[in-house]
Symmetry: C2
Subunit: 390 residues, 2 copies
């Protein structure tokens, strides 16, 4: 069933009576999104290219002094195109070509900012622990072939692109990183950030390949809002989200690659909690499909050696600061999610809920600074303790 | 419909085909809980007392060197008993008596640690902004009438009790606080903690009555595990959860009072995200019912004056560190949720997922310490910036 189940939303829509569906959606999804319609040409094009195309609008209230700041956000989830045994250059070229098709559709949908999944131009090979040929996918963030093709698209379509790749940093001793490159709609690279938290769980043997990012929590100012990126496993770390909010992000992308057995019940939770707590939009993007590798590998779970990573369940979605969210893309197929948002919602929710004003950040800065000291004693109170302070 | 809709879980169970229900539950609720059965005597008693009684077990794996540390956690949600116009002493006495019935049922269910909703012994009167008679519900945390009756129950039933009240601190100039008192199963008060984040949203005019808590993030060592408390609005603050994890909590209670229009889509999200990110159990408890007040009040939302706070939607549940959760109690009625957990799961999930080892807390302590400086400049990178660092 899990391998055929398309999405929670489609299942509920099929089975629930209308009045109950409304209540379930209100509680599970918050304020309803409205549908963003596309022309017949576009839907035919996306059908022909086997791209699930979904469009939604998330509204904000009017203000007197600021105009709406409407942005269309594109989120792309896709399968790898060729077999993982094909030559590296061919695999890379095939994925470039496939995403080129989807970016073109996105441009027809009026997308302003688009983000692809984590390590989008390659298979998610880190399960294998093999270095070659996989590290050959690594490139310069500034002028590698993937950045170059993104720069072309960005300029051609007037679109900001967030491109997450395996980076080879030649200027720093050939080190590898898991990196997101932010490309302006002018075609220039604005900058890059790196994955701050590296997993050591299941088949996610990424610490075999690269270390924790060293670029902090930059936010990128673009023509279409201030953008932050929290790569994959960083979504489990509340402080990683938090610092992007402190640095004024309005949209945070979470390009990911994660599989059903491990994380699926967490997927609807963490991006939304981050959007709520930090008053920004979160765009959760997950890889889709099952990737098979030539040589078998084990997963440190006592089970027999095998050749695939498990099912990447897609389900990409956008979460809003007001606790609403879009439905997810399919668990099974390539897709493009287009979400029109009004960035003014971020500050409107800040003003309504007051999480930032009531944050007591000075208290937490002090408590965390104490907590990292080698002789930190957790603040535990036992029965009979006279002194209740720390 | 919202006023009649009992719960998401009951709706899904009624309407979905079995195989699809299984998938929906897997994605929305994680690893299934098993049912904790009670004797017919107990279920008859709870039916007679009009208490929805639900029992679940959340399992952990076996270990070689530690025995299972099985604890039964009780979560109580209840309506006020008398009209808010009844004399304060009578209202207080009626709620004490009602909760006495529920605690007795809990003891028959083998509950070891029980928690009641926020300000459980009074109506949630802060919508009114009237000081009297409401502040007369305030009591000493150490030896007020509510603490005294909890001490009796605790000793009689060998149960740890978390009792959240409006505290009057006579020894510090009669100041009011929103406080949780932790009472040992010996009947002694172990200590107390206070609400760290005070809302200014909707009818939650609590800042009219009391200030932000000044007791930090203590965790209470009990015979049944290490307990933390994050009171109500504190659940929107990731760092409030975080510090309780740093201080070694295994179960964190979130006694709350929150209404449907404001927060219902957040309710299934935040407690679970906290449980996942911090590797502890979270027990989310929400008040239930609609409370009406004699004098009309406005809500700062342009709508006419009215006499009620809106519907407190109950839906109390337990979230586990492995991303599973129990179903929620009803949105409509008094209830007792009994959840048997193995506290060993907390460290098992830490070891599996590695969020603590990969937390980079030193980096965040430094970044937050910088962020609170008056001259902090958010780390924003613009097109053409040569220096990408902060």
């Amino acid at each position: 069933m899990a391998g055929k189940f398309e999405s929670i939303e489609k299942c509920l829509e099929k089975n629930l009576p209308e009045d109950e569906l409304k209540e379930v959606k209100r509680i599970l999804y918050g304020k309803p999104c409205s549908i963003l319609e596309f022309s017949q040409d576009i839907t035919e094009e996306s059908n022909a290219k086997k791209v699930e195309l979904a469009g939604y609008k998330i509204h904000a209230g009017p203000e007197q002094l600021r105009k709406p700041r409407t942005v269309r956000i594109g989120a792309v989830q896709h399968k790898i195109v060729l077999s993982t045994t094909a030559p590296v250059a061919e695999q890379l070229e095939a994925i470039h070509s496939r995403i080129g098709e989807i970016v073109k559709i996105a441009s027809q949908c009026g997308v302003n900012v688009i983000c692809f999944q984590e390590a989008w131009n390659m298979p998610f090979c880190f399960c294998t622990r093999e270095k070659y040929p996989w590290v050959e996918f690594a490139q310069s963030a500034e002028d590698g072939p993937t950045t170059k093709i993104c720069q072309q698209w960005a300029k051609q379509y007037n679109m900001v692109i967030v491109s997450s790749i395996l980076e080879r940093e030649e200027s720093h001793r050939d080190v590898l990183w898991n990196t997101s490159v932010v490309i302006s709609n002018t075609g220039n690279v604005i900058g890059k950030t790196r994955k701050n938290h590296i997993p050591r769980v299941g088949d996610f043997n990424e610490s075999t390949y690269y270390m924790e990012g060293n670029l902090g929590h930059p936010v990128f100012e673009t023509q279409f809002g201030r953008i932050g990126i929290n790569i994959c496993y960083g979504r489990h770390h509340p402080l990683n989200w938090y610092m992007l909010g402190v640095n004024q992000a309005e949209i945070v992308f979470n390009p990911s690659a994660t599989v059903g057995d491990l994380s699926e019940p967490m997927w609807p939770i963490e991006a939304r909690c981050a959007a709520i707590a930090n008053n920004y939009f979160v765009v959760g993007i997950n890889r889709v499909g099952t990737e098979t590798f030539e040589n078998e590998f084990t997963s440190g779970d006592g089970k027999p050696a095998h050749n695939d990573f498990g099912h990447f369940y897609g389900s990409s979605y956008v979460a809003a600061p007001d606790a609403s969210r879009t439905p997810g893309l399919s668990r099974l197929s390539d897709g493009l999610l287009v979400t029109e948002v009004d960035l003014n919602l971020c500050r409107q929710v800040k003003d309504k809920w007051g999480f930032q004003a009531t944050s007591r950040l000075d208290m937490y800065a002090e408590e965390l600074s104490n907590a990292v000291k080698p002789d930190y004693k957790p603040h535990v109170i036992r029965e009979g303790d006279k002194n209740q302070g720390q």
